[in-house]
Subunit: 165 residues, 2 copies
């Protein structure tokens, strides 16, 4: 999934989150910590449901309720720790927005694959456009849709010695 190199960061995500919460006079509760720890335990695109499942009842033990997971996801976005990246299969797809270089995605309509690409050019075009409009840009979300190289190869079946009967 991740073909871009990761970056080292000095402040751990949990601490960055605590700092953010302090500025809003909010606390890093055990529930909120459970969510941020879970999310930063692996570096992948993810959706809310998998954490609702594992943190709130259905599959795992109750570490945070469904509402709390969703509310914490909002806080994590505000804090700049995660961002919405696309919508796939009726679900919002998120990713880490901290400790990882800026990029956008080519999204294959057939297989759903999300190919990451760095976006300096686009960012700088947007800086210019925003300046022209006196617009203070804080971020962007770009979904490029189409068919990936794998899926657009002619329907020649995948390489195989012999078909099964």
């Amino acid at each position: 999934m991740s073909q871009l190199a990761t970056m080292n960061v000095t402040v751990a995500p949990v601490d960055k989150f605590r700092e953010f919460l302090l500025t809003k006079k909010m606390r890093l509760t055990p529930e909120r910590e459970a969510v941020v720890t879970a999310i930063y335990s692996s570096h992948d695109h993810f959706d809310a449901d998998q954490w609702v499942d594992s943190l709130a009842g259905r599959k795992g033990s109750m570490l945070a309720s469904r509402s709390t997971v969703y509310r914490t996801l909002h806080l994590l976005q505000e804090a700049g720790l995660i961002r919405k990246v696309a919508r796939a299969n009726d679900r919002e797809v998120y990713e880490h927005d901290y400790g990882y270089p800026q990029h956008d995605h080519l999204i294959c309509k057939k297989c759903g694959d999300m190919i990451e690409f760095p976006n300096e050019m686009i960012s700088s075009v947007l800086e210019t456009v925003a300046a022209e409009h006196g617009f203070r840009m804080s971020g962007h979300r770009l979904e490029v849709e189409g068919i990936c190289a794998k899926c657009s190869r002619p329907p020649q079946r995948t390489h195989r010695k012999l078909d099964m009967i």
Copy 2:
């Protein structure tokens, strides 16, 4: 809302829709025609709800059910007549994608205003990126978020002779 000039098109939206449906061996039913006519009766950003309201029961007589409105919106996207442009107030925002020049939007987090800007530069950057990845791009969705010029002016109150008591 629209600060970009409109373009003249030869084929009317309803006819373009009928053509598209034919290629899929589908019919332009009265319900589908009602939806596309309603949507093309004005040239604005819009959301599904307003057409569900006016076409399905609640306000007028039933021209197309809720499901049919939503299903027709999908078809209109496939047909290249409309496209999703952003998400605002928990609703998808659509706009005409036919008879109007390509553009993207600066979206103000405070007032919700959507400022349109033409996007040739961005399209061409994306063409290059897509080519590099052997990706056959069919479209994109770009939301630039931030604070618009109006909203970022110092909090000097709006011009008013005398405050109300």
